[in-house]
Subunit: 327 residues, 2 copies
Amino acid sequence: MIRIGLYGYGNLARGVDCAIKQNDDMELCAVFTRRSPESVKTVTGGVPVYHTNEILVHKDEIDVLVMCGGSATDLPVQTPEMAQYFNVVDSFDTHKNIPEHFANVDAAARKSGKVGIISVGWDPGMFSLNRLYSGCILRDGKDYTFWGKGVSQGHSDAIRRIEGVVDAKQYTVPVESSLDAVRRGEQPELSARQKHTRECFVVAEEGADKARIEHEIVTMKNYFDEYDTTVHFISLEELRRDHAGIPHGGFVIRSGKTGKDLENSHVIEYSLKLDSNPEFTASVIVAYVRAAYRMSSEGMCGCKTVFDIPPAYLSDKTSYELISTLL
Amino acid sequence: MIRIGLYGYGNLARGVDCAIKQNDDMELCAVFTRRSPESVKTVTGGVPVYHTNEILVHKDEIDVLVMCGGSATDLPVQTPEMAQYFNVVDSFDTHKNIPEHFANVDAAARKSGKVGIISVGWDPGMFSLNRLYSGCILRDGKDYTFWGKGVSQGHSDAIRRIEGVVDAKQYTVPVESSLDAVRRGEQPELSARQKHTRECFVVAEEGADKARIEHEIVTMKNYFDEYDTTVHFISLEELRRDHAGIPHGGFVIRSGKTGKDLENSHVIEYSLKLDSNPEFTASVIVAYVRAAYRMSSEGMCGCKTVFDIPPAYLSDKTSYELISTLL
């Protein structure tokens, strides 16, 4: 059994908690929280919750520690710190800071002889893998990543910070006609506006100036100004009833040419349609927990990404089983 | 530069010849044929063609030998034989015999200290990888592989063997309504007939009994009897004009559930739309040639499949470049 610990217990950790139950060779052994441990109720129950201050006491009870904090301030500090003592897996997703995060985790994990797998999930994660594989196969080509339809937490938060807004949910939606052009192998140049639209469902305070709120949303720099944005004002009841989920998904499409005169065209498409973004991300993480455990058992150490890991390491099946059933 | 040799020079080898030109770190150094070398004209030209009898003379001029024979009788003998002397990559695609082929190549390659990568292409190959990744992520789920629309060489050949048939082309076509049900996450049980239809374009001899030919096709055991098959009789000119290409493609779709009560549903879909089946297969092979070269350079040996190979080994980019541009 692979003994797993969770560092932090929010939406993602809840997903990991459930995903571990779907894998017979794993068990959740401990949850560590910065809150008061008594206040944390786990989804599947029956697992001890400790304060993070105590984590080193439990060092030998954990094979892999899953880092469940946020990418903005938690993981950049916590993952390298914990890699000094544990095999770790995180879902660090601030794309531009990945090289720096990699270097920090690598230094800590090499020193401790542990394995740290970073940026696991679907983007970064499965989408990155598909960009890599497709780009290596179709050399003369172009790839496109579309996100959605799905909830963007960052954009929803940005709307909530506007005066007069009680609550809000923002969906990122790929532009169908652009998707179709890419699928036809046309390799268009697409602006931000041509790739995605943004759809906002907003609950305003009673008597709030809705025209002003809408204007502040659609003109918001970096978040909305480069997109076609639609704003729907709805009631709190409607928001809770119709927009409670955290769906997401998207598409990685590469088209490219082959042949003596590049006369033949090919399209590779990978897509995800997810009812729950955190639960899917958690399911990817749990597969890579197995890889971290196996790589560590074989004496490897240092920081790894999805690019470095042989696909067979994600599976609980033997090489013979994989070859005879899936190849 | 990775120095590549081709063993055999048919459709697949022609594709590899072209694909090497799309990779700056590779060069085609020699072609080996069982035919008379003077009779072989390569697509891109300027490369020596030798008889296979002479291949060992050129042992030190080749880093990776791409095996371009057929899976029925060529590769089962040739790949293990050549793995005694060369790093080899093949596209062996008789799924049920892969474990035996793996064992034979592994024994030879371990003895010689070379690397042999087998069953590279899209199915087996990229489709297998997607079945593996998706199955490790969505544990409670079901996956489906659909092929087409594309030309099945085996089925086209079977029709050509019928008395009175001059030439023929058979397309395998996925059933759209079944694809849609799978995409909705319904996890239906699908018979062969419910997954694919077969469409045949047949040129009959003048005066041949078309009704008899059609009957022989649609009732042919193992090939057509379990499918809905349509037969179109056309002229040789039409066949040459409208059905000269070798397009193919298909879909690997897995749907699965997550959450405490498996209340959330997810769909992962990977699809290919290919103008040229052999050229795309060749492009995948060439990426794995790079992996074979690098694994061998690092001292690894034995038989490998796409499941065993870290994705980064397919790329000519450094780890830092991959992390900062694709992750």
